[in-house]
C-alpha cells in the first residue's frame, strides 16, 4: 500500500518535472516569437511597425491557435460585444448598390494603399453573395439569400450591423475582421453592406 503510494508520488513528481520544463520551453518560444516579430517588421507606407502589437484578443487567439478554452472564449466575446456602437439614428439600411461595390473591393489598409483611399469590404474574398458573381471565396459561409431567409426586421438589421461591426462578439477567434471596431469601414459604409445583405432589391436576395 505504502510502497504503491510512494511509487505513485514518484511518478507524479517525475511527470511534473517533465511537463514543467516543457511548458517553460513553450512559453520561452512564445516570448521569443513576439520578440522576433517586433524586431523584424518595419514601417512601410501606411502600415506602421506597431501593427504587430497584439491586443488581448489577437494574443489569445494566436496562443490557442483559434481554439480558446470555453471560459476565456465567453469572456472575450463579452468584451468584444461591448465595443459595438450602433448608429445613433437606429437606421441601418444604406444603399445596396454602394454595398455591392464595397463587397467587390479587396482594397484597403495595406502598405500599398494610401491613407485617403477608402477601404473595400473584402466580402467576396470569403463569401458568396450574389448569384451572378462566380468569383467568390469560401473561407466564410455563403451569404446568398441572406435577407430572403431572415427577413429585414429592425432586429435583423441591428444584428447584421453588429456582426459586421465586430464579428468577434459572436465568435471570438472568427476569421472575419472587426470592420467597425478597427475603423476599417465608416458607419455609412457599414449601412451600405447591411442593405446589400437585407434589401429585397439587392442581388443577394434575387
Amino acid at each position: 500500500m505504502n510502497a504503491k503510494w510512494m511509487m505513485g508520488a514518484v511518478l507524479t513528481a517525475s511527470m511534473a518535472a517533465l511537463t514543467i520544463p516543457a511548458q517553460a520551453a513553450e512559453s520561452k518560444l512564445d516570448a521569443k516569437t513576439v520578440e522576433i516579430v517586433k524586431r523584424d517588421f518595419q514601417d512601410k507606407g501606411i502600415a506602421k511597425a506597431d501593427r504587430v502589437n497584439q491586443d488581448a484578443l489577437q494574443a489569445a487567439c494566436s496562443k490557442y491557435q483559434d481554439k480558446l478554452p470555453a471560459k476565456l472564449k465567453a469572456k472575450m466575446e463579452g468584451e468584444q460585444e461591448a465595443t459595438i456602437k450602433l448608429p445613433s439614428d437606429d437606421k441601418y439600411m444604406g444603399d445596396w448598390k454602394a454595398g455591392e461595390k464595397l463587397a467587390q473591393s479587396g482594397k484597403g489598409m495595406t502598405w500599398s494603399d494610401k491613407a485617403e483611399d477608402p477601404a473595400g469590404g473584402n466580402c467576396y474574398n470569403c463569401h458568396q453573395l450574389s448569384a451572378k458573381e462566380i468569383a467568390f471565396g469560401t473561407i466564410g459561409p455563403s451569404l446568398l439569400h441572406y435577407g430572403k431567409i431572415r427577413g429585414n426586421s429592425i432586429e435583423v438589421q441591428r444584428h447584421t450591423y453588429g456582426h459586421i461591426y465586430n464579428a468577434k462578439a459572436f465568435q471570438a477567434c472568427a476569421n472575419m475582421p472587426r470592420f467597425g471596431h478597427m475603423g476599417i469601414l465608416s458607419e455609412a459604409q457599414l449601412k451600405d453592406l447591411v442593405a446589400l445583405l437585407l434589401d429585397p432589391e439587392s442581388p443577394v436576395n434575387k
Binding site: 467587390q104 473591393s105 479587396g106 482594397k107 500599398s112 494603399d113 473584402n122 474574398n125 468569383a135
Partner: protein, 159 residues
C-alpha cells in the same frame, strides 16, 4: 512607306472580287513569304471590331465549322495570359488567325501555314475582360471560323 502604299492598293482591290482577294492574301504574306516583313497588316491589327478586322483582311462571311478545334480555358485566372490552341482537320490549311472580340484591337495574331506545316498553332493572348476568342482558318481558299467564350476572373484577394 511601303505599308501606306499597300493600304491604298488594298482599298483599290477590295471591290475587285476574288482576284482582288488573292492579291490581298499575297499582301498578307501568304503567297510570297519573302515579303512578309513589310506586310504586317496595319489596318487589320488596328481594327476595333470583328467586322472591321475581317473587312481589312478581305474576309467576307466565314462559315462556322466543326472541323476547327479551338481549345481555350473556360475560365482564365488571369487575363494577361490566355492559352489558345487552334487545330483544324481541314486539308490544305493556309492561314490561322486569332481574335478576341472585346479587346481594343481585336486581331491578336495571324499565322501563315506553309505546306508541310500542320494546320495547328498554340499561342497565348491577353484578354481585358470576359470575351469570345475567335479562330479563323483558311483552307483551300475558303474561310471557316470557330468561337468560344473565356471568362476572365478577378484573381487573388483583389488587394
Amino acid at each position: 512607306m511601303n505599308m501606306e502604299i499597300n493600304q491604298g492598293r488594298r482599298k483599290a482591290l477590295k471591290v475587285g472580287g476574288s482576284a482582288g482577294l488573292l492579291a490581298l492574301f499575297g499582301s498578307l504574306g501568304l503567297l510570297q513569304s519573302g515579303l512578309a516583313q513589310a506586310e504586317w497588316n496595319k489596318t487589320a491589327f488596328s481594327a476595333k471590331s470583328m467586322d472591321e478586322a475581317l473587312n481589312a483582311m478581305g474576309v467576307i462571311i466565314p462559315e462556322n465549322s466543326a472541323s476547327i478545334k479551338l481549345t481555350v480555358p473556360e475560365i482564365a485566372e488571369n487575363g494577361a495570359v490566355v492559352p489558345v490552341t487552334v487545330e483544324s482537320s481541314l486539308a490544305n490549311v493556309e492561314q490561322i488567325s486569332i481574335f478576341v472580340d472585346k479587346n481594343p484591337n481585336v486581331l491578336a495574331a495571324n499565322f501563315s501555314i506553309p505546306s508541310g506545316t500542320e494546320g495547328m498553332v498554340t499561342t497565348r493572348v491577353k484578354m481585358g475582360q470576359t470575351a469570345n476568342v475567335i479562330a479563323l482558318v483558311k483552307a483551300d481558299g475558303k474561310f471557316y471560323r470557330a468561337s468560344r467564350e473565356v471568362k476572365v476572373t478577378a484573381g487573388g484577394c483583389g488587394g
